[in-house]
């Protein structure tokens, strides 16, 4: 039997379009606040789990590793979990596993996102979420797939753009009382409808903003929660489900995966009727329609009638019977992906323990549910929390919290602060494998190819060599199928993959097309052409327009677009073919790359470091808890998670007093190519301080370097990255044999 798990403390930064803090500094700010909220110290925390969404946002491979110190994970059990946009509600679930299993008594749960590092725009990180062979060449981005889903949702459930705009306005208004809110505003549905059109039906104010922020919560078992005399709010149910990555093979109008996750959570929580048994909802709302789309699933009502009635009767409002997003949601508080989900968990905690201040729902609350969504319209995570007799707290600093009370340093532009630019060269050649090679061979011949899954009686497009829903049964029969079909949903886009506007007057129309003659749910995504945008309709019939044979290369772009077919009869010609031979020529690779650049703020501490280096100085930061000075400068002490001030706690260090602690002589550049001249990287320590500084040692060959040699900081001038941190020997060395 699982241990009961309670939330006993919360911390969060402001939600900001752009923060000066580094990802680690943001995490540390939230963690420190959560520790204080729970009345604990870092030593009281048994384990740490961290949720953060794509590495492509923060611009750090293995981002979870980078965040260890800030999350309080040094010398502790630390693990990151990840499920795309659904991560934030997976975070408490993964923390729940730590405690419910009996493995740990307490667990710090941290969610962080720093989306602003990504250039040209964080939205660009989404171009590489799509299938690299069958979708990425179309240069889709997340707004496109949302728009396709939104159009389908509106078509099936009959919502108008105005009705969805009303949801956006309501949620943004709810955020007016949230202290962390980034985009809280009192606007009308007209304001949403009149905001710039990005990709019909999506307008700017239908979407949540990109954000930087961190949120932390502390979980504990019941014994500790009760002992701390908090008003513990218990995790009563958890659920998480992941759908197929083949997102064109299902109707996007209803998220079955969310409903399944909700059923799991409800079963665990003993909820029979969610409409009756749940008092308020925090569905994930990155787009306004998503709040209702998810609510349909959370209420287990595929007909959508319940939500429609609640919406029309005003009962989704804070004063209604089934309020949604009382926090202000992603639309109003902001959307630093993983941190958003955990903010929603924090809102359940605040509401259920009477700490929501002006947002407090004015009725007795027993249970709330939070949900996140992610991946390719694919992941659902659900948590039910309950007050379980906890007395509402009457005095809590959260009740009166204001934005200025929360940590976080918003900046308008990265140019305002010390920053480092970097463009990684990440290139790939992917093995297509047998089935996709056969599919691409078909495209080169002007044919769309599928493979027949006899277990489930599905013709699968693109061709696959196993049945993903039929016990992984082998699939060996390949067919050329027709190139006509029906538009299931569409969007008229005015933006590029990186959110930059298309040339004036140009639009791209993307559509999910169900192909003729095979299962209705087996579609593909492509562009439409030879049609005016206003003439596109769901249900219209279309046919592929192919490139000339000589120009086809075995690529999804061998289809130029799909064009209207009209009502004329078509002759379906489905013919079994022989798949490609398995040889190194037919198994060619698909080339690809990550097309992003980054500009990293140096953070609160890094700004001090680089400002000093520019003057030829080095400062450490005094940590009172350990009574020592640390270098490089620090905004937090990773041992205690105490906050430090690199300016007021600065202690000057003689830049000429360094000694080589360790070193290496490097013969290759960042890509593994031989350097023309070897370079020495040194770790330099300074007397009386903890820590060290890494830099390049110049003016001496590799075989002239030894541990303990005295070095001094070279130069001053522009300091814009680690390669500018240069040391030289204080004395001319005698050649010595390198230890080898």
């Amino acid at each position: 039997m699982s241990n009961r798990v309670a939330v006993i403390g919360v911390g969060m930064t402001k939600f900001m379009r752009r923060a000066q803090e580094t990802p680690g500094e943001l995490a540390a700010e939230a963690v420190r606040m959560a520790l204080e909220d729970a009345g604990l110290e870092r030593d009281d925390i048994d384990a740490v789990t961290l949720g953060t969404a794509p590495d492509a946002f923060d611009g750090i491979h293995m981002k979870g590793e980078h965040l260890i110190a800030g999350a309080g994970g040094v010398d502790k059990p630390y693990m990151r979990h990840f499920i795309g946009g659904a991560t934030g509600v997976m975070s408490p679930i993964h923390g729940w596993m730590h405690v419910a299993s009996g493995k740990y008594n307490t667990c710090m749960v941290v969610a962080e996102e720093k989306m602003s590092s990504c250039f040209p725009h964080p939205a660009g990180a989404f171009v590489t979420i799509f299938d690299r062979v069958t979708e990425q060449p179309l240069e889709l981005t997340l707004i496109h797939i949302f728009a396709l889903e939104m159009a389908r949702f509106m078509h099936v459930y009959g919502y108008s753009e105005r009705e969805l705009a009303e949801i956006s306005a309501m949620i943004k208004r709810n955020a007016l009382n949230h202290p962390a809110a980034q985009t809280a505003v009192d606007i009308s549905a007209d304001d949403v409808l009149n905001s710039p059109l990005l990709s019909w039906p999506v307008k700017r104010f239908d979407i949540s903003p990109t954000s930087d922020a961190a949120v932390a919560i502390i979980l504990a078992n019941e014994r500790i929660a009760r002992a701390l005399k908090k008003a513990p709010v218990f995790i009563e149910g958890v659920g998480f489900r992941l759908e197929t990555a083949y997102w064109c093979t299902r109707d996007l109008c209803y998220p079955d995966y969310v409903a399944m996750a909700a059923r799991d959570a409800y079963a665990m929580a003993g909820i029979v009727d969610p409409v009756r048994d749940i008092d308020f909802f925090e569905p994930y709302d990155p787009f306004d329609y998503k709040a209702l789309h998810h609510l349909n699933a959370l209420l287990l009502d595929k007909t959508g009638r319940t939500v429609r009635e609640l919406f029309e009767s005003g009962n989704l409002q804070p004063e209604g019977s089934h309020p949604i997003c009382p926090s202000g949601g992603a639309l109003g508080v902001g959307n630093p992906i993983a941190a958003t989900g955990l903010m929603k968990i924090a809102e359940l905690y605040f509401q259920l323990s009477g700490q929501a201040g002006k947002r407090q729902l004015q009725r007795r609350l027993r249970r709330g549910v939070a949900q996140a969504w992610g991946d390719l319209m694919q992941a659902g995570t659900v948590v039910v929390m309950g007050a379980d007799g906890a007395s509402p707290i009457t005095s809590s600093r959260w009740n009166d919290m204001k934005r200025e009370d929360l940590p976080g340093t918003p900046i308008k532009s990265v140019d305002e602060v010390a920053n480092i630019a970097d463009t990684p060269d990440l290139r790939y050649a992917w093995d297509n494998g047998f089935a996709i090679s056969t599919y691409l061979d078909g495209l080169k011949k002007g044919k769309i190819r599928g493979s027949l899954d006899t277990r489930t009686n599905r013709m699968m497009v693109p061709a696959r060599s196993f049945s993903e829903i039929g016990d992984l049964a082998p699939v060996t029969n390949y067919f050329d199928i027709g190139d006509t079909g029906v538009v299931k949903t569409f969007t008229i886009s005015h933006i590029n993959w990186d959110s930059s506007p298309l040339a004036k007057g140009k639009v791209n129309i993307f559509a999910v097309i169900a192909l003729d003659g095979i299962n209705e749910d087996m579609g593909l995504v492509h562009k439409l052409g030879d049609i005016e945008p206003e003439d596109v309709e769901i249900g219209m019939r279309v046919k592929a327009v192919w490139k000339l044979k000589a120009k086809r290369s075995g690529d999804i772009l061998d289809i130029k677009y799909f064009a209207p077919l009209g009502e004329g009869k078509i002759k379906l010609d489905i013919k079994q073919i022989k798949p490609v031979e398995m040889d190194v020529l037919s198994m060619a690779q698909k080339l690809g790359k990550i097309p992003l650049s980054y500009r990293y703020t140096a953070g609160i501490a890094g700004s001090k470091f680089y400002a000093d280096l520019g003057k030829g100085k080095i400062n450490g930061t005094y940590c009172a808890a350990r009574d020592e000075v640390v270098i490089p400068p620090a905004m937090f002490d990773e041992e205690t998670l105490d906050m430090l001030d690199p300016e007021t706690d600065a202690r000057e260090i003689d830049p000429g007093s360094g000694r080589i602690r360790s070193f290496t002589v490097v013969f290759e550049d960042r890509q593994g190519r031989l350097l023309e001249k070897e370079q020495v990287v040194v770790q330099v320590e300074f007397p009386g301080v903890a820590g060290s500084v890494f830099g390049l040692l110049e003016g001496v060959a590799g075989d002239g370097v030894e541990e303990g040699m005295a070095v001094k900081l070279a130069g001053g001038g522009t300091m814009d990255g680690p390669d500018r941190v240069v040391f030289t020997l204080k004395e001319t060395p005698q050649p010595v044999k390198l230890k080898k």
Binding site: G59, D75, P77, H94, P424, W430, G433, S662
Partner: protein, 368 residues
């Protein structure tokens, strides 16, 4: 509640794997694991994947997990950690009592990543540590620190390579088996001195799958399970300037917990074989020290050749060690077989991390 490994499957373990997509490779390994575990897909409650985004080339690697495992619409998530982190996460899930059988997956298509050093460099702190030189600089510096602070010599580091790549000659899952001398290793092309090219594991492609479940599930379905006696994980300081580069604190944290759970007091005496991360040769020795196994002792380490012999499989690397340990516990390791009843599997996430996992596995459930 006890947790066991019911069965495992692999595919690939070769420097390149043209002809198989990652999906096809994983599906093959999954079918092998399910059969080995004696389970059908409908008996499996969910999956945990161990993946990072950039090695997969996708911004959200998690999207592409469920299909090739047959886990569509089931509870599935990703641990951006080593395979053994995912095993630990799955074990916790099972210990909540709400899940019975789970599948753990990881894979490498390292041959598909054309700029691997650039990717590794991208894991370094951009403010302080992302130099324009090879990311191996940290391994070279770490090796130097280890030699300065420990009793080990560079020759003993080289001996790790000789031993592991030699052992790998007899292993069908280890493509880098070969006969080297200590001088071959020391005289190899310098990368980040004192680190030479042969002290670094080469890359390999491969998929690893483990089916883990409760002891009850193991008893019911598996022909020859391995029992998890203890598992711990831990991370050293991610601020490199304040990390001791001669010692793996992450391993020490992880082993403390694993030993406590498995009631291990004297690891050298009580554990028959150690499957330890050797992605860099010196790391094998550094990890053993942190595991409480010292230079004067001569434990059985990486009898199948480790990563130096089998290749760096990105996040699947620890899974390869688990597979080797699993086959050893079953007595199915062929020419690499040694006498084992209790083994230790260790995983490390590679530079620039000090994040590690330690697991103790037995061939039968011991009373606690």
């Amino acid at each position: 509640m006890g947790v066991a490994v019911l069965g495992m499957g692999i595919c690939g373990f070769t420097p390149t794997s043209t002809g198989l997509s990652y999906r096809e490779m994983i599906a093959k390994a999954a079918k092998m694991a399910y059969r080995d575990a004696g389970v059908t897909i409908d008996l499996i409650d969910g999956a945990v994947s161990a993946e990072e985004d950039f090695p997969s080339g996708y911004s959200i690697a998690d999207e592409y997990v469920p299909d090739q495992l047959g886990m569509v619409r089931k509870p599935v998530y990703t641990i951006p950690g080593d395979f053994m982190h995912a095993v630990a996460s799955a074990a916790m899930q099972i210990e909540t009592g709400r899940f019975d059988i789970l599948v753990v997956e990881s894979y490498s298509k390292a041959s598909n990543v054309l700029t691997k050093d650039e990717m590794t460099r991208f894991a370094f702190d951009p403010v302080y540590n992302r130099f324009g030189v090879s990311p191996h600089w940290l391994a070279g510096l770490e090796l130097n620190s280890f030699l300065m602070e420990s009793e080990y010599t560079i020759e003993e580091v080289a001996e790790v390579v000789v031993s592991n790549r030699g052992a790998a000659i007899s292993s069908i899952t280890s493509p880098y088996g070969d006969n080297f001398t200590i001088d071959d290793i020391l005289d190899a092309r310098p990368v980040a001195l004192p680190l030479t090219e042969l002290m670094v594991a080469g890359y390999a492609d491969g998929a690893v799958i483990a089916v883990v479940g409760s002891d009850e599930a193991a008893k019911k379905y598996a022909r020859s399970p391995a029992y998890l006696a203890g598992i711990g994980w831990g991370s050293g300081n991610s601020i490199l300037e304040r990390r001791d580069h001669s010692f793996s604190a992450g391993t020490a944290v992880a082993s403390r917990r694993a030993y406590e759970e498995a009631s291990v007091v004297s690891p050298y005496e009580e554990i028959d074989a150690f499957f330890v991360s050797d992605v860099y040769a010196h790391r094998q020795l550094m990890h053993l020290e942190a595991l409480g196994v010292h230079g004067t002792q001569r434990p059985v380490v990486n009898p199948n050749g480790g990563a130096l012999g089998g290749g760096d499989l990105f996040e699947a690397t620890g899974g390869a060690r688990l597979y080797e340990a699993f086959t050893q516990l079953r007595g199915e390791a062929g020419p690499c077989q040694t006498a084992v009843d209790r083994v230790l599997v260790h995983a490390w996430r590679g530079i620039p991390t000090d994040s590690c996992v330690v697991a103790i596995l037995d061939n039968e459930r011991r009373s606690s």
